[in-house]
């Protein structure tokens, strides 16, 4: 844009035009011709040449102007002009009127604008550019590139800035010492090649990212909401890959070294039941040895017990922190200040999902939007008529009934699962019937559980039709809550069964039994997931498009699918202890699910019609994964490790009274070695000590409370600042009104104005400083007209309201005394008024900045 401005600069039309806009348009018309042959010398080329020449000519005019500024800048600009152009493009065109802020487009039509000669502007402009270039030159390469990338400018301008900065840098280093010129060049080359190497590396990493392309296509066709499901899936997948790597390398590989032979036969049904052949493999807890593994005599040994417990413990700790981290990040990004901008304004302007590149999806989205807006409008109207008491009672009664029904269903499901599982155990203990029958019988429990998980949500979604929620968001939240309660209570019952019944039963190796149960649950759930997408989506689409046309194409139910993922992940986490290689199986399943869901989505589904606030939903899902799911898993694992008796005859912990005993024994051994006394001390004083945890808890509670208070304080602060912004807007309007009134009263003395205008256009070379000052004064109202907008428009990496006053105030004379030469009392009065207001605002804003900064 400024490039056009640049062209328009010499254009007389430009200065006579009312606004800059019209001038700009003229310029753009001039070069909007579309050229076929890039090599012919079209009028455009000659135009740019001409333009460039004019720039150079005018530069000589510019230098004397620059003498008004601090000496340093002048010498720099002159020098820069003098240095041979090292620009790799051979581009000698330097954009003098480069602007850091698009300020000129903000110049409002003003009666005084004719007085405002181009030279005052240009010098300030050039100095600003100098400043930016000097700033950039002082940065490190990386920072500089980032800063340049972030500039809201056209490529040409950015490239010019970059070239100038590079020139500045080389010039500096050359002037520093010409002797080591060769050396610096060498260094420069090394730095350059290093940078290219790094760029290449980052390219490589980018190409390693899984399914990037597929995710883009899904996002393009279905929007961000559906995309969030797939992103969540890949996220879980990386979790599992990590846990697989950890378990495999620290637990399984050592076990392979010590493993005995497996003499069980493999029939194929084991893939489904996980029993039989797999019982004697590294898949399950029971197979791991309790001995220390030494391949070479007298070398250091590998204690399997410790390896097992520490691997799993450290894995959970890492999981915990990464979950907390991603949850906190997601919260911070998506729930910032939700009450302030929950309104429609933000929604309207942010709602368009630019991701969508599919025509059908675009049309659907537009339709949804219009209905949403209509609903919102009618909501606003109907909000006034309150529901009568009776209606409200009916509403509450319906909600209550729905809740009782859903909780009752959950309870029935849990009882069902409980008795079935006990029955399952009895069947296993008795062991009559053929081997095949036994194995088939074990599958009953997982199939029933998966069926319940699949069908009850449909019942819950029927409830949605009964209770009509005012806002669709509430409906989504309620449905999710019910489903979470269902899934988590089923898992809870199963855990109770495993920890209290299986663990105390007279089985040979209860951990392996639990591991098998979990394996079966995971496998069957996976199969049901495939069936679900086949029947729920494929068959449903066939019915919807062929038989019952009014049903239409099914929607992709994000909530149900994501909850399914959370459920499976919970099972995997519980299973890690009993079956260390379960993540590997989960990785395979997630891979398959990803492709199946993708194909099913592409073939069968349409984007969801509901309002789906993808960002907040993702946060909710991560939270759900953390709160009932991961914390529950932690408690289950903790009970297993501290409370339960490990099996007598299998597993790494055979013969111990509890699994944690392995650690206590290790510490006892360590006490004999004085060098590892610190480990013992830590164990006795921190890990085992109640006081330590008590103090820790108290400290954490205090910190939490402090943060809570800080948040409360911030909320008040935000409210006050908000009010202040509004008040300042009002102040500004008031001042502007006054200023305009004063200008109107002084407008009928145009003689002097005309004279000064002539001055500015003719006598440019030998203008005395006083004149310049005066010119600046006269041009001031121009800048003052919208001081706040100007600052606001200064687009920079800083947060809003850190308006760069030092830069802008460069236009203004510092002390009010210097205003005296102005002969128009009206204007100077207005200026003084505006100046005072401005200084006030400046001070206040600085305060705010500091507060922002501190926070």
């Amino acid at each position: 844009m400024s490039y056009h401005y640049n062209e328009a600069f010499e254009n007389p039309d430009y200065h006579n035009s009312e606004t800059l806009e019209s001038g700009r348009r003229k310029a753009s018309q001039m070069n909007s011709m579309f050229r076929q042959n890039p090599y012919d010398s079209s009028p455009y080329d000659s135009y740019t040449d001409h333009d460039g020449r004019e720039q150079r000519q005018s530069y000589s005019v510019d230098i004397p102007m620059a003498t008004m500024q601090p000496g340093l800048e002048v010498s720099q600009s002159a020098k820069r002009w003098g240095t041979p152009n090292a620009n790799p493009y051979g581009n000698t065109h330097i954009n003098h009127s480069f602007e850091y802020e698009p300020e000129f487009t903000y110049t409002p039509p003003s009666t005084l604008s004719t007085v405002d000669g181009p030279f005052a502007r240009r010098s300030s402009d050039a100095s600003e550019e100098e400043k930016i270039i000097r700033n950039l030159a002082s940065m490190t390469t990386r920072e500089r590139i980032k800063a340049i990338q972030k500039m809201p400018k056209t490529m040409k301008e950015k490239r010019e800035i970059r070239n100038k900065v590079l020139m500045e840098k080389t010039r500096k280093s050359v002037s520093y010492s010409t002797e080591i010129h060769c050396c610096t060049q060498c260094m420069y080359k090394i730095a350059l090649s290093y940078r290219r190497f790094r760029n290449g590396l980052s390219e490589l990493f980018q190409s390693l990212q899984l399914w990037q392309k597929t995710l883009k296509i899904i996002g393009g066709k279905f929007g961000t909401s559906v995309l969030s499901y797939f992103v969540f899936l890949t996220w879980l997948l990386t979790f599992n890959i990590f846990s697989f790597l950890v378990n495999f390398s620290f637990v399984t590989i050592p076990q392979f070294i010590a493993a005995g032979s497996n003499n069980l036969s493999f029939t194929g049904l084991e893939l489904l039941t996980g029993a039989g052949y797999f019982q004697q493999t590294v898949l399950y807890y029971g197979f791991y040895t309790n001995s220390t593994i030494t391949k070479i005599e007298n070398s250091t040994s590998y204690d399997m017990q410790l390896a097992y417990i520490f691997t799993i413990g450290i894995y959970f700790v890492i999981c915990f922190f990464s979950l907390v981290y991603s949850m906190a990040k997601s919260f911070r990004n998506n729930f910032v200040n939700p009450q302030t901008y929950s309104g429609n304004a933000g929604k309207l302007l942010c709602i368009w999902d630019f991701n969508i590149t599919n025509e059908k999806a675009v049309r659907l989205k537009q339709k949804n939007l219009s209905t949403q807006i209509k609903e919102a409008l009618s909501e606003g109207k109907s909000e006034d008529l309150n529901l009568s008491l009776k209606q409200r009672m009916v509403h509450i009664a319906i909600h209550l009934a729905a809740w009782i029904f859903s909780l009752g269903t959950t309870a029935v499901c849990c009882t069902c699962v409980y008795y079935l599982s006990i029955n399952n155990l009895k069947l296993f203990m008795k062991g009559d019937g053929t081997e095949l029958e036994n194995q088939a019988a074990t599958l009953v429990l997982p199939i029933v559980v998966s069926l319940l998980n699949l069908l009850t949500p449909f019942v819950f979604s029927l409830l949605e039709l009964l209770e009509k929620f005012q806002y669709p968001r509430n409906q989504i939240y309620v449905t999710i809550t019910r489903n979470v309660i269902l899934k988590m209570s089923i898992i809870g019952i199963l855990c109770y069964y495993w920890l209290n019944i299986v663990a105390t039963s007279a089985t040979e190796c209860w951990e392996t039994l639990v591991g098998q149960d979990i394996y079966r649950l995971v496998v069957v759930d996976f199969l049901f997931c495939l069936l679900g997408s086949f029947f729920g989506e494929f068959i449903r689409r066939i019915i919807g498009t062929k038989c019952l046309k009014n049903l239409g194409v099914p929607e992709f139910d994000i909530a149900r699918n994501v909850l399914g993922l959370i459920y499976v992940q919970t099972l995997t986490w519980i299973g890690i202890f009993f079956s260390p290689l379960l993540p590997a199986i989960q990785i395979i399943f997630f891979f398959i699910i990803f492709y199946v869901k993708k194909v099913s989505l592409m073939m069968n589904c349409q984007p969801p019609r509901k309002v789906w606030r993808a960002s907040q939903m993702t946060t909710l899902f991560i939270f759900l994964l953390f709160f009932p799911s991961f914390t529950g898993v932690l408690s289950v694992v903790a009970i297993t490790i501290w409370r339960l008796n490990p099996s007598e005859k299998c597993g790494p912990f055979r013969g111990l009274s509890s699994i944690f005993d392995a650690v206590s024994r290790w510490i006892d051994v360590l006490t004999n070695y004085p060098r590892s006394a610190w480990v013992v001390w830590i164990y006795h004083n921190l890990i085992e000590s109640v006081h330590f945890f008590f103090i820790l808890t108290v400290i954490i509670i205090i910190i939490t409370y402090l943060y809570w208070q800080i948040i409360e304080g911030r909320k008040i602060m935000v409210r006050l600042l908000h009010e202040q912004i509004i008040n300042e807007g009002k102040d500004k309007m008031f001042l502007l009104e006054k200023l305009r009134a004063l200008q109107a009263s002084t407008r009928d003395t145009p003689a002097r104005k005309g004279a000064s205008q002539q001055f500015s256009t003719t006598s440019s070379l030998y203008q005395p400083p006083g004149q310049l000052d005066q010119q600046r004064h006269l041009s001031m109202p121009n800048y003052l007209e919208r001081p706040l907008e100007k600052n606001k428009s200064s687009f920079s990496a800083k947060p809003p309201y850190t308006a760069d006053f030092p830069e802008t105030s460069g236009f203004l004379p510092g002390d009010p005394q210097r205003q005296q030469p102005s002969t128009k009392p009206g204007v100077s009065e207005a200026l003084a008024l505006a100046m005072r207001a401005r200084q006030q605002a400046e001070r206040e804003m600085e305060d705010e900045d500091e507060e922002d900064f501190r926070s």
Partner: protein
């Protein structure tokens, strides 16, 4: 990385890398994308900086923009002549800003420009009406549209001047969580999508 390319000089490529959020490969891919729009116009050698400009009709026929209701505004905002005709520089610039790597405030700045239909550096009521009509494909009655626009201005206009300045806009948008999805996935993906489709 060892593949020889003769389209740009190494210095040109470095400059492009410094000025956009793209890697070398992506720049080349985008160049081919650009060239594919009009192979007879765009030369395969850019080292002498040929002066080529593709008309808006070609730019808007790209799959990434074809169905976007704001395609014309996007092209206009990023083109140097303000009419949607793009040089390679403009083209790279557009995809750089729309890419995932671009920071949010940069996106907010350009989003503001896109919504500012009459280029007066404010989003006024007429701009908002145009936006709403584009968003809803003229399915609302004019009264409804103007009601919505009034509400939006009322809500977001902090300094009470009856229109949204860039500052108002940034203030509103950067803090709205859903702008994340807007900015992150939205536009930028265009660029990503492109570079992926080219592989």
């Amino acid at each position: 990385m060892g593949n020889k390319q003769t389209i740009f000089t190494p210095e040109q490529l470095d400059a492009y890398q410094d000025c956009t959020f793209f890697t070398r490969k992506e720049i080349l891919r985008l160049f081919y994308r650009y060239r594919d729009l009009a192979p007879q116009l765009v030369p395969l050698d850019y080292s002498d900086k040929p002066d080529v400009m593709l008309p808006y009709e070609l730019i808007s026929s790209m799959p990434e923009l074809k169905d976007n209701p704001f395609r014309q505004r996007i092209a206009e905002v990023f083109s140097e002549d303000g009419e949607g005709n793009m040089t390679l520089d403009d083209f790279l610039d557009m995809f750089s800003v729309l890419s995932e790597m671009a920071p949010r405030d940069l996106k907010a700045y350009y989003a503001f420009k896109i919504y500012d239909f009459n280029n007066d550096d404010y989003i006024c009521k007429s701009d908002l009406e145009k936006t709403v009509n584009k968003l809803t494909r003229h399915e609302l009655t004019p009264e409804e549209v103007s009601l919505v626009c009034e509400k939006v201005i009322e809500e977001a206009d902090l300094d009470n001047d009856g229109k949204l300045s860039l500052e108002d806009f940034q203030h509103m948008i950067l803090r709205a969580p859903d702008f994340l999805s807007f900015s992150k996935s939205d536009q930028q993906r265009n660029g990503e999508y492109i570079h992926i489709c080219l592989t």
